[in-house]
Amino acid sequence: MSIRRLIAWVMLAAVLSVAGAARAAVNDAAIFINQLGIQAIKTLRATDLTLDQREAKFRSLLSRGFDLHFMGRFVLGRYWRAATADQKSDYLTLYGEYLLQTYTARLGGYTDDSFTVTGARQASEKDVVVSTRLVRPSGIEIAADWRVRVFDGKFRIIDVMVEGISMAVTQRSEFAAVVRRDGIEGLLAILRARTTKFSATAAIN
């Protein structure tokens, strides 16, 4: 084999191995989202638990699936650097709470949803986007894309896209408008307000 031919073979092997690694990452990301979905459905079907208990379990599952710090920082954008240490700490706590409460309230109560992974693709050097479909017994279908990235060897969700609209990008522009108008404290007040509300009750108050 000529040197030139050997080099060509080595280069081809390298390209194939990179492509193979990328394909493995895409598959692994799809498995990660599928597992999360299976566990979520199992949690939601445990009707021996109260709704609050089911939602608490679901929420704990979500908190392990999302990278809340990464998302929180991305969403605050350039205002992150301007925040004081106390504001950063309050913001990350409130943002995490806000995200978990929102998703738990939207997805957590239903016991008969079906969830399917419909595809996955390499979206950038670091990220894989996994496409899913959630079907409610009423026939309502929700198509969601989950952007996942590896942190410390573990997959974490860093964005959710519904109907092609990125939640992180939407929140980023909403939060920026609030900070421009009312400062970081105004944003913290809104997040605090959205996370402190009471849920349904049987108590006579």
Binding site: T47, L51, A189, I190, A193, I204, N205
Partner: protein, 285 residues
């Protein structure tokens, strides 16, 4: 979409019955009587059971009937369904409408939620002044979360002149009522002498209450007090143990502090701290 389709369907079924079908009509009349009396029997509890099952459409129809009849608790719960989009399209404006009715009927949880919609401007124009008035009413009914939020409004001068003393008063009241976030904030106020006379020992007491309830930032704060011997005897084993519990909950700066502590501690101290974590803490995932 007809969200209350079941009720509409029942009325139509009896209305279209023809003469000459007496037995059928009779049967329908019996069925109709059953259906018409069921709303009287069915009520809040049926709605609550449906809600627990995740059958939000039934919860919605049960509570809506009661809410329209002026039941403040059903009005509140209906507002929650609209706010969370459960069994109905998400509608913060409808949530506000029902919470306002319930709040005016004296339901304290609705007063609290309405105030927070007014702060966030969700479903209603942002109005800090109105929010403060509802928070004051809910606080008078003893709602700890309302007291805490009111304290924050005073602390940052949102809709009211900033007043550290009033802020501390409301936050300490919320802390005394058992609100963990308020306990953590009260601890910081006593630590810094912010709105109250500086008092490290009292700060440690508030940190401890929230930390023992699992509030991560309070665990980190308590760890810091043990490390610095502020308001409590210095104890690096307990400092590391509390900081580790906070770090386990994902608090980044607690993990940084923990790494710094580990570098300056002997192996037996670290082992003692680990033993405390095992005794106090829930297992890491």
């Amino acid at each position: 979409m007809n969200l209350f389709g079941t009720l509409g369907g029942k009325a139509t079924a009896t209305g279209r019955a023809k003469p000459g079908l007496a037995p059928v009509l009779g049967l329908l009349a019996v069925l109709a009587a059953g259906l018409l009396s069921s709303p009287l029997r069915a009520g809040f509890e049926e709605g609550w059971e449906a809600y627990q099952r995740g059958d939000f459409a039934t919860a919605l129809s049960e509570w809506k009937r009661l809410a329209e009849a002026g039941d403040a608790r059903a009005q509140f719960n209906l507002g929650v369904l609209f706010d969370q989009g459960k069994g109905v399209l998400l509608s913060p404006a409808s949530a506000v409408d029902w919470w306002r009715k319930s709040a005016e009927g004296g339901f304290a949880s609705a007063q609290h939620n309405l105030a927070n919609s007014l702060i966030a401007g969700d479903g209603v124009a942002q109005d800090y002044g109105a929010a403060i008035r509802w928070l004051e009413r809910a606080s008078d009914s003893g709602i700890a979360r309302s007291k805490y939020t009111l304290g924050k409004m005073y602390a940052y001068g949102l809709g009211i002149e900033a007043d550290g003393v009033q802020a501390a008063r409301w936050i300490v009241e919320a802390a005394e009522a058992g609100n963990n976030a308020a306990q953590y904030n009260a601890a910081k106020m006593y630590r810094d002498g912010n709105g109250v006379a500086q008092d490290y020992a009292t700060a440690v007491n508030w940190y401890r209450l929230a930390a023992e309830a699992g509030y991560a930032k309070a665990q980190a704060g308590l760890g810091q007090r043990y490390a610095g011997g502020q308001g409590v005897d210095q104890d690096m084993v307990r400092a590391l143990a509390w900081t580790t519990l906070a770090a386990r909950q994902g608090l980044e700066r607690a993990e940084t502090t923990r790494q710094e502590m580990l570098m300056g501690m002997a192996d037996d101290e670290i082992a003692d701290a680990d033993a405390l974590v095992e005794r106090w803490g829930v297992p890491a995932d």
